[in-house]
């Protein structure tokens, strides 16, 4: 559970659980993922994937997009024109990849590439349940595009004990950065 400094849940936050001890077979083959483009937005805006995951970028808008990243974890340029398909991009290094569109500067997406075997993204109310974690100690890392707290200050250690599972509540100490609101604008007639 991720809550802001006033105790309200925070969505679109990546939570990654790294076991303290190596668990054999804990990192299965990464499943392909999708970051769509709809109404001049990346959907989902925040995507968490395991190292080695291939991500497809379909364009479901009536206009063209040119998706790129210059983040050290993955640099790529992907011109996505209507009616054309591209092979997926493989994210082969851990780290944060900020995705932009060279035609529409307001479009921003985030792909969090992790080598942790267990991870997910919080729902709007701030909750996330990671299932099937074997017994043991886990280091929990938290990252969100609107979180102003330093990531290192949000790391927690959690002990998972048998069938009981474990809960962790991470409260932010700094106010969230402003989050872009969905706006019903007629942007198609703007430059």
């Amino acid at each position: 559970m991720i809550v802001d400094r006033d105790g309200r849940g925070v969505g679109e936050v990546v939570v990654a659980a790294m076991p303290a001890a190596v668990i054999p077979g804990a990192a299965p083959d990464p499943k392909p993922a999708v970051m769509d483009q709809r109404n001049l937005e990346f959907v989902p805006r925040v995507l968490a994937v395991a190292v080695g995951t291939s991500v497809e970028f379909p364009n479901n808008d009536s206009v063209s997009h040119q998706v790129y990243s210059f983040s050290p974890a993955k640099r790529f340029q992907l011109p996505l024109y209507k009616g054309q398909t591209h092979p997926p991009i493989i994210f082969d290094r851990p780290g944060l990849v900020v995705i932009g569109c060279n035609i529409h500067d307001a479009m921003v997406g985030y792909i969090y590439v992790t080598d942790a075997p267990y991870f997910g993204i919080t729902a709007a109310a701030g909750g996330l349940t990671l299932k099937d974690l074997p017994k043991g100690d886990y280091r929990i890392a938290v990252w969100g595009p609107y979180i102003a707290d330093a990531p290192a200050s949000l790391v927690r250690t959690v002990h998972v004990d048998g069938d009981e599972g474990a809960t962790a509540r991470v409260q932010l100490s700094l106010a969230l950065r402003a989050r872009p609101e969905p706006r019903p604008r007629r942007r198609d007639w703007e430059y």
Partner: protein, 403 residues
């Protein structure tokens, strides 16, 4: 300007050739038909000194504008844009003309700075109001006095370079951009302000046509000296945008052509801000201040000018309601132009309601009232002080074609 005329047919040939690639050519189009009722004196566009687009002799059903805006993607980073317009007030000039024609080069960013260059003929990046294709406002039919004037007298015919810092990779949801341009063929800019003062019309000039009767042309190189502008813009999150621009056409006010064309040395700065405090509201203000000079020596005509506006717009579902207040003045400091000095003062109110119907249709009702004082009207046998109003109902059909 001849090189632009030569370039146009070549580009259309290239378009046809390039259209084989998927989705490489898109054309936005707009047909805008109005029902107009107006009071006041003859519009400047029809040979008078009225500040509005229409007048009592030009009412009823009118063609607001029809345009095609082709956009050809030559490569991933190079595209060619044009706006081809048709108006019904061209007065024996080109019935169909070009108002913008430029090549846009936009390399993929390899770091937080994204470079962009435009070469050709295009509008300067000064307006927060005229964000639509072809210098159209998304808020009203008629733009403010500030942006009416920019659309009438200015086109950058040259090259512009922009460096934009994209904050997203640094965790900042915003951008800061610096822009600079060098251009020619804009030496007459300023003549309209002395001839009519500021006005409120949605009739930008085209590259090869003119405005008024007889038409004044704006795109000539007279002194063979390039002009420049430099600007700054800042976007903070998705609710604040600030733009500042300094323009100087660097004209030699003593230069003239054998055909009687004069170079007007026009300089101004503009500062504007747009705030969107919630998903429904948009607030925009812009302030422009400058001066223009023509002629040499002690007889030089020198004029100061200023215009500003504040706009509030409320958007919900398919509706948008906008109210704007305009304020403007010119002050002739020296020289002789008309006889009575070109000292204009004026203010105006604009109220517009637009309704989007489906993907293609937009209906707009706009009421506009301007009170102004301009002594040169006395030479036409009119009184200097004047109140003009105009009501328009616009039906706009918009389409987008892609190959």
């Amino acid at each position: 300007m001849r090189w632009v005329q030569r370039l146009v047919p070549w580009t259309f040939m290239l378009w046809t050739a390039g259209a084989a690639a998927q989705d490489s050519l898109t054309v936005n189009g707009d047909i805008d038909v109005r029902w107009v009722q107006a009071s006041g004196v003859t519009s400047f566009l029809n040979g008078g000194l009225g500040l509005l687009r229409f007048d009592p002799d030009h009412e009823g059903i009118r063609l607001g504008r029809a345009f095609l805006a082709p956009n050809w993607r030559a490569t991933d980073i190079v595209s060619v844009h044009a706006v081809i317009d048709a108006y019904d007030d061209y007065h024996e000039r080109n019935a169909v003309d070009v108002s913008e024609f430029y090549v846009d080069v936009r390399p993929f960013p390899t770091g937080p700075i994204r470079w962009r260059a435009r070469v050709g003929a295009f509008y300067m990046p000064v307006s927060l109001e005229n964000r639509g294709i072809g210098w159209t406002s998304v808020y009203t039919i008629t733009p403010s006095a500030v942006n009416t004037w920019i659309g009438e007298e200015f086109r950058t015919i040259g090259a512009e370079v922009e460096a934009r810092w994209l904050g997203a990779s640094s965790g900042y949801l915003g951008e800061v951009a610096v822009v600079a341009a060098a251009y020619g063929w804009n030496d007459p800019a300023g003549v309209l302000l002395a001839s009519r003062g500021f006005g409120l019309t949605d009739r930008p000039s085209t590259l090869f046509g003119g405005l008024g009767r007889p038409p004044i042309e704006f795109y000539h190189e007279i002194d063979r000296k390039p002009g420049y502008y430099g600007g700054l813009s800042w976007k903070h999150h998705d609710w604040l945008e600030v733009r500042a621009l300094r323009y100087d056409n660097h004209a030699d006010p003593g230069a003239e052509t054998d055909a009687g064309g004069y170079a007007w040395q026009t300089r101004f700065y503009s500062l504007g801000a747009s705030v969107e405090p919630s998903e429904h509201w948009t607030l925009i203000a812009q302030y422009l201040n400058g001066n223009t000079a023509v002629g040499a020596g002690s007889q030089q005509f020198y004029m100061r000018f200023h215009a500003d506006f504040a706009l509030a717009s409320f958007e919900w579902a398919r509706e948008r309601l906008t109210l704007r207040y305009d304020n403007f003045d010119t002050n002739q400091v020296s020289g002789f132009f008309f006889g009575p000095p070109s000292d204009e003062t004026g203010h105006g109110w604009t109220l517009a309601w637009s309704h989007q119907s489906g993907e293609h249709w937009q209906f707009v009702a706009e009421w506009l009232r301007v009170a102004s004082d301009f002594p040169p009207r006395i030479a036409l046998g009119e009184s200097a002080a004047l109140v003009e109003s105009q009501f328009q109902l616009a039906a706009r059909y918009r389409f987008r074609l892609a190959w």
